[in-house]
């Protein structure tokens, strides 16, 4: 894994104001074990949430959260507070999620596979549904989630970080290893893809 703490797309290493996460990380580097426990406690929820948004609720979330913090442990000595702590942490989550996606690819639990409980809607099925189908609100949510899951990885992570984690474009660029302009373009393309895939449902929902 590329060490997220040692690479920056902008190549800058300007000192940043220490946020709570960075402060805890530095305290832990200096030998304060309680700081690590606090770090896990305060950031576990966001890591878990980001994994759910990016990989879906069926991913082995607890294992992945554990793996994220194991990678934090392994990066302990190399950590430098060059960006917001969450940016550094989200980059670990992203790298791990991409690995996970690639591992799952040969035997995918595909979104298009028939789902016994019927909770998943395939994107193609969603697009085929006409306005007259009068979908319930929960179906729309499922359809949107399915459409997000079908986005390419970088588009998906950029959209999730911007929309649900309220991360600024510059920080998303740090997570994905891209310039800010490229992030804008990614998000634009992600939205365009979603608009296209969900157009029948969105048109039904207009007013």
């Amino acid at each position: 894994m590329t060490d997220p703490s040692t690479s920056s797309p902008s190549g800058t290493s300007e000192p940043v104001e220490l946020d709570e996460g960075a402060t805890l990380m530095l305290a832990w580097q200096a030998g304060d074990e309680a700081a690590f426990e606090r770090l896990v406690e305060t950031h576990m929820g966001r890591v878990h949430g980001l994994l759910v948004r990016f990989l879906g609720p069926r991913a082995p979330l607890d294992d992945l959260v554990q793996e994220v913090f194991l990678r934090v442990v392994r990066a302990r000595d190399r950590y430098e507070p060059r960006a917001r702590f969450t940016t550094w942490l989200f980059r670990i989550v992203y790298n791990l999620s991409v690995n996970q996606t690639q591992r799952r690819r040969p035997t995918p639990q595909s979104l298009s596979a028939p789902d016994p409980d019927g909770s998943d809607l395939d994107v193609e099925d969603v697009a085929a549904l006409g306005p007259s189908e009068d979908l319930e609100r929960s179906d729309l949510v499922d359809a949107v989630q399915a459409a997000i899951a079908e986005l390419p990885e970088r588009q998906r992570m950029a959209l999730v970080l911007a929309k649900f984690e309220n991360q600024p474009y510059a920080d998303i660029g740090e997570v994905l290893g891209l310039k800010e302009q490229a992030v804008k373009s990614l998000i634009h393309r992600a939205r365009e893809n979603l608009r296209t895939r969900l157009a029948p449902l969105l048109a039904e929902d207009l007013v």
């Binding site: 607890d62 949107v144 969105l202």
Partner: protein, 211 residues
């Protein structure tokens, strides 16, 4: 979107499909009076319809005026964008992780955390001087540097190294370092005394002990 809005919208689309014939029955009129969103939709659709009719009249090929088409597309895209944002906002926040996960993560990382513990300073011995170890190391380094500088320019002896007086002193210091464990076991007073003795005194004391 609630059902009166849906009914009105369906009627509106139906009317537009049929060429804009009057579609509003009293039920829809009543709803329009109370629903700002539907009034806005109706006026927008009427304006769009008028635009399409005007364009059809003026365009010999039957295609839309490029400007009008662009405006229409822009409007549709903006509407879809708003609807997309509304749909994204409807996705509920993920459920929080289970309370046991914190303990699980801490347990799973414990072994690796212990491996990466930073060097912890030795606790100063009770009554001992915390400067003893650095002072001893500095003294050894000084002797070593002196020895190196004295021997630096000399040619190599083909018969091998011979002990000079300063070599003996260096060996005495190396001996001290080798016996570090014994020194650690000394009383603080003894160690402090040893730290301020010069090597000659130390050797003398050692010789006295041996007798």
């Amino acid at each position: 979107m609630n059902s009166p809005c849906q009914a009105l919208r369906a009627a509106l689309l139906d009317a537009l499909d049929r060429g804009g014939a009057p579609f509003l029955d009293p039920r829809h009129q009543e709803h329009l009076a109370s629903c700002e969103a539907c009034r806005r939709l109706c006026s927008e659709e009427e304006a769009l319809d008028a635009l399409l009719v005007a364009t059809a009249d003026s365009a010999p090929t039957g295609s839309l005026d490029p400007d009008a088409a662009a405006r229409l597309l822009t409007r549709l895209r903006a509407d879809l964008d708003r609807a997309l944002d509304a749909a994204l906002d409807r996705i509920p926040a993920p459920a929080p992780p289970s309370p046991e996960l914190l303990q699980r993560v801490l347990e799973a990382t414990r072994a690796e955390r212990e491996e990466t513990l930073p060097d912890v300073e030795l606790e100063p011995m009770p009554g001992g001087s915390r400067w003893f170890r650095p002072a001893l190391a500095a003294a050894a380094a000084a002797v070593l540097l002196t020895w190196v500088s004295l021997r630096g320019g000399a040619a190599l002896d083909p018969e091998g190294p011979r002990l000079a007086p300063e070599d003996t002193e260096l060996l005495a210091w190396l001996d001290v370092l080798e016996r570090w464990d014994e020194l650690e076991a000394l009383e603080p007073v003894e160690r402090e005394a040893l730290a301020v003795l010069d090597p000659g005194d130390a050797l003398l004391l050692e010789w006295g002990d041996a007798q």
